[in-house]
């Protein structure tokens, strides 16, 4: 080591530190195994709690040597165990330490070490592996590369409480995908871990519980198996219920509630089961209370939102439990003004969690309000709720924006709210802004909300139209994501409903006929349905029908023919027949049908179809064709006479006659009304 004269103090200190560290590393190379052992023990004592020392030793190359000693069959079992302990200690340091250890291939070496019969050594290896695997920088996949590892870990579960704790902790951190769940499940994770739930050690119980929560998440197979598992002659769900008792540690209550939530969502437990209604749900609501830590409140709210998302009854119960709706308002009060003044540490903590809290609250509100009108009302009446959503829509965090727009979407299903609070707070403004430039996830939700805001009775519809939304929606219909295409076209459909000619013209112009017909052949049936809906809305009121048909009649008729001939659902065909009926209502547009024998034959076919809905739509179409105009224009009069004659020739009258005998009252009425036109 070079010794510079007049070296700056800093460097000299550093070199001194490195020198002592170097000494530790050097001792690992001593020919006397006893001295090596003592060296490792001294190193162990030196690195405990000393991140700098850890970094130094790693830089100086202690890791490969330790790994070498650990893998060496000639090393004494004591030395090997001590090596594993030191490595575990090094792993406890910074993320960089973990990275260096992983780069030195510590994982396969330690996994190999687990094959040794010595329990102390195994435990040391597992402790180190645990520390490495729970770090976010470690690739989880490393646990699954060797297929023999998981079964071996399962077999080690019975060795000691420590192995149980470390292994379950490794599992719960390394089970990230459905594939991982399946691998663990197939190796008997449930049977092996279930008995640990009643272990005398709290740590073991807790890690086992966490394991089950990650295994059951969105996994029907695991969840279905779990409900039938018995632990000490007690059903697993009952074990979880016991773990949710209020005098249990919060972490345990929360994790047990998660397990039951996931089992319920996977369909393994009914949503009206008392363990969900009277235990899991109240437990999760408690987790949202002010008394809990911010992290717990976030997790509690997110889990609760997930639990009740599909079930209106659970939403109703939650909405009255422990003033949940009001309790959530508190989630927006971070960082609180108090914390800013009194305590910098607390402020930092609050700031860190503020986004998480807000997004969790929005998610939970979204879930609560997704079905029940009364709950929605309760939510919007919560203090400053709409303002919070509005500001949430423009927050920097994508997570918060997404949750806020989900919440807004949930509330936008309420006619009353659309008419009142949505308009009062001009939610459309931030929503439009959000739509300009957002990730797809947010776009889907935002455009979906926009669909509702564009409903005919929504007072926000006008200002939105004026803000140039049509271009935006048309661009959405060209998206690769079916959800966005649906929302785009859906919003256009809503917009076209009872719109004036100007708006309709603008929609057609902006969308372009080419795009419109491309959407009519969209692989997604939802897109197709909404496009047909848009067409139908465009083709309403006589002057509009005639105008649209005069410019696009040919293409529309072509498209209609194609759909009626194609393999489509009843709903799609019904919608298409309705479009024909609308066309038949036009003055000049009628002729496009009357001159198209092919179409007339198809209408005839559907009038005799087995599905009443299709019969009805087809009959409606014919009824429009034979209608006697009331405005009494002579040529129109003759027009209707001509049509009636032609249709009679084609045998429609016979069909109508037959339909007057139909069992469906609506169809029967419709046919009779049509027949009366002939008599008139």
């Amino acid at each position: 080591m070079a010794c510079l004269l007049e070296a700056p103090l800093r460097i000299s200190v550093l070199s001194e530190v490195t020198a002592t560290s170097r000494h530790y590393v050097d001792r690992l190379f001593d020919p006397d195994p006893q001295k090596v052992l003592q060296g490792v023990i001294d190193m162990k004592n030196a690195v405990i709690g000393n991140n700098k020392q850890k970094a130094n030793l790693i830089v100086l190359g202690a890791v490969p040597r330790l790994l070498y000693l650990l893998q060496q069959g000639s090393s004494s079992s004591e030395l090997r165990a001590e090596c594993a302990v030191v490595l575990g200690s090094l792993a406890m340091g910074t993320e960089n330490n973990i990275k260096s250890l992983v780069d030195c291939h510590i994982i396969p070496a330690l996994l190999q070490g687990l094959l040794c019969p010595d329990l102390i050594f195994i435990e040391a290896c597992l402790r180190c592996l645990r520390t490495v695997f729970i770090s976010p920088v470690t690739p989880v996949q490393l646990l699954y590369t060797d297929p023999t590892v998981i079964p071996h870990l399962m077999s080690l579960l019975c060795r000691s409480q420590r192995t149980q704790e470390y292994i379950t902790q490794i599992f719960s951190h390394c089970c990230k995908t459905p594939e991982h769940q399946t691998v663990l499940f197939n190796h008997g994770a449930i049977q092996n871990i279930a008995p640990l739930l009643i272990s005398p050690s709290y740590k073991v119980r807790m890690q086992a519980l966490k394991c089950f929560s990650v295994l059951a998440y969105e996994n029907t197979q695991v969840s279905m198996t779990l409900v039938n598992v018995l632990v000490d002659e007690e059903l697993l769900s009952q074990v979880f219920v016991r773990m949710m008792q209020r005098d249990q540690p919060i972490d345990m209550q929360l994790t047990a509630a998660k397990c039951l939530t996931y089992m319920c969502r996977a369909g393994a437990i009914r949503t009206d089961d008392s363990c969900i209604v009277l235990k899991t749900l109240p437990c999760l609501v408690r987790m949202c209370s002010k008394e809990r830590l911010l992290e717990e409140r976030v997790e509690g709210a997110e889990t609760l939102a997930y639990l009740m998302e599909p079930d209106v009854e659970l939403q109703r119960i939650a909405s009255v439990t422990d003033h949940l709706v009001a309790m959530l308002a508190d989630y927006f009060k971070y960082p609180s003004s108090v914390s800013a003044i009194t305590d910098i540490k607390r402020l930092d903590h609050d700031l860190k969690h503020a986004h998480e809290l807000r997004q969790a609250a929005f998610k939970l509100y979204a879930s609560l309000g997704s079905n029940d009108e009364d709950i929605r009302k309760k939510i919007t009446e919560t203090e400053n709720m709409m303002d919070r959503i509005v500001s949430g829509l423009s927050e920097s965090s994508v997570k918060v924006r997404l949750a806020a727009v989900r919440c807004l979407h949930s509330l936008s299903r309420s006619v009353q709210q659309l008419r009142t609070s949505f308009h009062d707070h001009a939610v459309w403004k931030p929503l439009m802004k959000l739509l300009q430039n957002a990730p797809d996830e947010v776009l889907v939700m935002a455009s979906s909300t926009l669909c509702n805001l564009l409903l005919e009775f929504s007072p926000s519809k006008e200002p939105i139209l004026e803000s140039g939304v049509i271009e935006l929606l048309c661009s959405l219909t060209q998206s690769d994501s079916p959800a966005l295409r649906v929302n785009g076209i859906w919003a256009l459909m809503n917009m076209a409903f009872q719109a004036d000619q100007k708006v309709k013209g603008e929609i057609v112009r902006a969308l372009g006929t080419e795009q419109l017909f491309r959407l009519l052949s969209d692989p997604d049936s939802n897109v197709l349905m909404k496009t047909l809906g848009l067409l139908r809305n465009l083709l309403s009121t006589r002057p509009h029908i005639d105008q649209v048909m005069s410019s696009h009649g040919k293409q529309i008729m072509q498209a209609v023919t194609l759909i009626l001939e194609g393999e489509h659902s009843i709903e799609v065909k019904e919608q298409t027949l309705c479009i024909l009926a609308n066309i038949a209502d036009g003055n000049t547009a009628k002729e496009l049908i009357m001159t198209n024998d092919d179409i007339l034959q198809k209408i005839k076919y559907y009038m005799a179809h087995s599905n009443v809905k299709l019969q009805l739509a087809a009959t409606f179409c014919i009824s429009n064709l034979i209608w006697n105009e009331e405005d009494g224009e002579a040529n129109a009069m003759t027009g209707s006479q001509e049509r009636q004659d032609k249709l009679r020739e084609l045998g429609f009258v016979d069909i109508l006659h037959k339909l007057t005998q139909a069992s469906d009252p609506n169809l029967c009425d419709r046919a009779k009304t049509a027949m009366q036109q002939y008599l008139a």
Partner: protein, 615 residues
């Protein structure tokens, strides 16, 4: 031994729910109230104090006479004047901590204007709960909560036929929340005054409710809620901030443990503890050992020797304390019946083995004690004592060569346990210690063993071990005598060990005792306690099997404890030392404190029972 101080006095809470099965008709209109009560035998699950008495009839209203039941509505339930409430005759006792009751809506009647809640004494009963001062209610028609006001606040959902509404009063933070069908609706009222009565009010015809004060299972899991508060309060106690006095506290705690050990004469443990904590023991070592030896003798049932030793070591003590002496003598008599006192023991036939090593007589024991005080002081409260009994015979066979094991087994069964367990230890920890210096090595090892078991454990567990140990030891003593003489095991349950000479000695002793009593009567006047004691003791002779007779309880080794601690306290007092260890004082003070809390209506006392911390 902490049970001496007794659990929290529960007499302050009213325990008997009065049976009442008949439905009550409101005197005013056809509002129908049905408060069914459980039998007195069924206890409420909420708290011991949730008692409801029969007087649930509403007070007569301003209309005066009550119409006959079923005579048709007088009021139409249209306005507030038609309301009527019933309430319990007894208020909610503060000491119960958490109070809960449920009301099932059997029928909402015409309009379902029902109120469930609480009211103080003197509140107008012709109104729904919540409308007046000191009255609180949750109303079914609008779901609002009424806090002493005619205008309600939006609170929860409405409730109607089939719903079960619960009302929980938390007397720790003076709040109240309701439940609907087992779901908590959140806090409704805060800052509640004390002495509220559960109250239910109805207003329109046909409204029927049924109250459940715990005679049936509740829909809401109130036990779970209570467990949360219990855990909270226990946590509060456990985490009570002591601030900068941490060091001071440690010294106090160490002193408490140390004095406790010294008080009970756990000499070796005390020495080990003092060494580990670097504290000083006030009392002289020999003094502790002497006391321990005497206590040991009493607990082993060898009261005669104990008296002898006391007289020898503390001359004048018993002479000045004739009550104590009399009590000791009475006990000695009982022990003679039991066959454990050395005055009769010497006559018993011992197992051949014991006789080999100890062809002994009662005189041996004192001598033994004199030459080797270590042995008797070796009152090791080790874990091994607890686990020894099942292995007793086995370990005999295993270490037949260890002289201490066999030698002391004969002298006193309790020493057997100690030396056996320690000899087991000795083979492990001190294999080099030969038989030459058995006694010393024994006591050394005992300290070692104690050090490990007690030293590792928390202070609390130390004293607990000691506390339970006594009983175990005594039981082992019994076991020991049974096990020792496998051949004469049945004989050991005979009067005075079944020995004729011993019985004669006992009779003679009885006469002496009688004489002592008469002498005391002459000197100090009649003493009813003494008379009773003597009677009880002599009554044992009236039965063929004294162990299974109405006064047979006296023979229970547990009965030695009182006299033992009395003697110990007397000795300590004579040495100008406190007769109670500070630890016991602290426990007593805590118990008193909790009782005081109950008296001043602090709800948390019900979850802060001292015995839940002593286990």
């Amino acid at each position: 031994m902490f049970s001496e101080l007794g659990p929290v006095d529960s007499s302050m809470v009213d325990l008997l729910p009065a049976p009442c099965r008949s439905p009550f008709n409101s005197p005013l209109n056809d509002v129908f109230l049905w408060f069914s009560h459980g039998d007195a035998s069924t206890e409420t699950t909420t708290c011991p104090g949730s008692s409801f008495h029969t007087a649930l009839t509403p007070q007569p209203d301003e209309h005066g006479e009550a119409p006959a039941p079923g005579s048709g509505p007088v009021g139409h339930g249209k306005n507030h004047k038609d309301a009527a409430s019933v309430r319990a005759t007894h208020p909610i006792p503060a000491a119960c901590g958490i109070y809960y009751f449920e009301v099932k809506i059997v029928s909402k009647g015409r309009d379902g204007y029902m109120g469930i809640g609480l009211s103080a004494q003197g509140v107008n009963m012709n109104r729904l709960p919540g409308w007046d001062k000191h009255s609180y209610g949750y109303h079914g028609d609008d779901g609002h909560s009424f806090c002493s006001s005619g205008t309600g606040q939006p609170y929860g959902p409405t409730f109607t036929t089939g719903d079960v509404i619960g009302c929980c009063v938390n007397l720790i933070n003076n709040t109240c929340f309701y439940t609907k069908n087992g779901i908590s609706l959140g806090v409704a009222f805060t800052d509640l005054p004390p002495n509220l009565y559960p109250t239910v009010g109805l207003q329109t015809p046909g409204e029927i409710v049924d109250a459940n004060f715990g005679q049936q299972p509740f829909v809401f899991d109130i036990e779970d809620y209570m467990s949360e508060w219990r855990a909270k309060i226990h946590g509060m106690i456990a985490r009570f901030p002591i601030g900068e006095r941490l060091g001071e506290w440690q010294a106090v705690l160490q002193n408490m443990v140390s004095t406790y050990l010294v008080h009970h004469g756990y000499c070796a443990t005390a020495t080990a503890f003092a060494r580990a904590t670097e504290t000083l023991i006030q009392e002289d070592q020999t003094s502790i050992k002497n006391r321990q030896r005497i206590q040991k003798l009493v607990l082993a049932g060898r009261v005669g020797e104990a008296i002898e030793a006391t007289q020898q070591l503390y001359p004048g003590l018993l002479e000045h304390n004739s009550n104590l002496l009399f009590m000791l003598k009475c006990r000695q008599f009982v022990e003679m019946v039991n066959g454990t006192d050395s005055e009769v023991r010497c006559f018993s036939v011992r197992s051949p083995k014991s006789q080999d090593s100890y062809p002994g007589s009662p005189s041996l024991s004192p001598r033994h004690g004199a030459t080797n005080p270590h042995l008797h002081s070796a009152d090791s409260p080790t874990c091994s004592n607890g686990v020894t009994p099942p292995n007793k015979n086995k370990s005999h066979n295993k270490y037949p060569g260890v002289s201490s094991a066999s030698s002391s087994s004969s002298s006193s069964p309790s020493s057997v346990n100690y030396s056996e367990s320690n000899s087991t230890d000795s083979t492990k920890s001190q294999p080099h210690s030969g038989t030459s210096n058995q006694e010393t090595s024994d006591s050394e090892m005992e300290i070692e063993a104690e050090h490990y078991t007690n030293g590792v454990a928390e202070n609390s567990s130390t004293r607990i071990m000691n506390g339970t140990y006594k009983h175990q030891e005594i039981l082992q003593a019994e076991d020991g005598s049974l096990g020792n003489g496998v051949a004469d095991s049945c004989a050991s349950r005979q009067l005075c060990g079944g020995n004729q000479a011993a019985t004669e000695r006992m009779i003679q002793f009885g006469r002496e005792l009688q004489g002592l009593n008469e002498q005391l009567c002459r000197e100090y006047g009649k003493n009813a306690t003494h008379k009773k004691m003597l009677q009880d003791a002599f009554s044992l002779l009236a039965y063929s099997d004294p162990w299974n007779c109405p006064v047979g309880q006296q023979l229970d080794p547990m009965q030695r404890e009182n006299i033992c601690s009395a003697l110990n306290s007397a000795i300590l007092e004579s040495q100008n030392l406190p007769k109670q260890p500070p630890l016991m004082l602290a426990v007593g003070q805590a118990t008193e404190c909790v009782q005081l809390m109950a008296r001043v209506r602090s709800g948390s006392c019900s979850f802060a029972r001292v015995d839940s911390f002593l286990h």
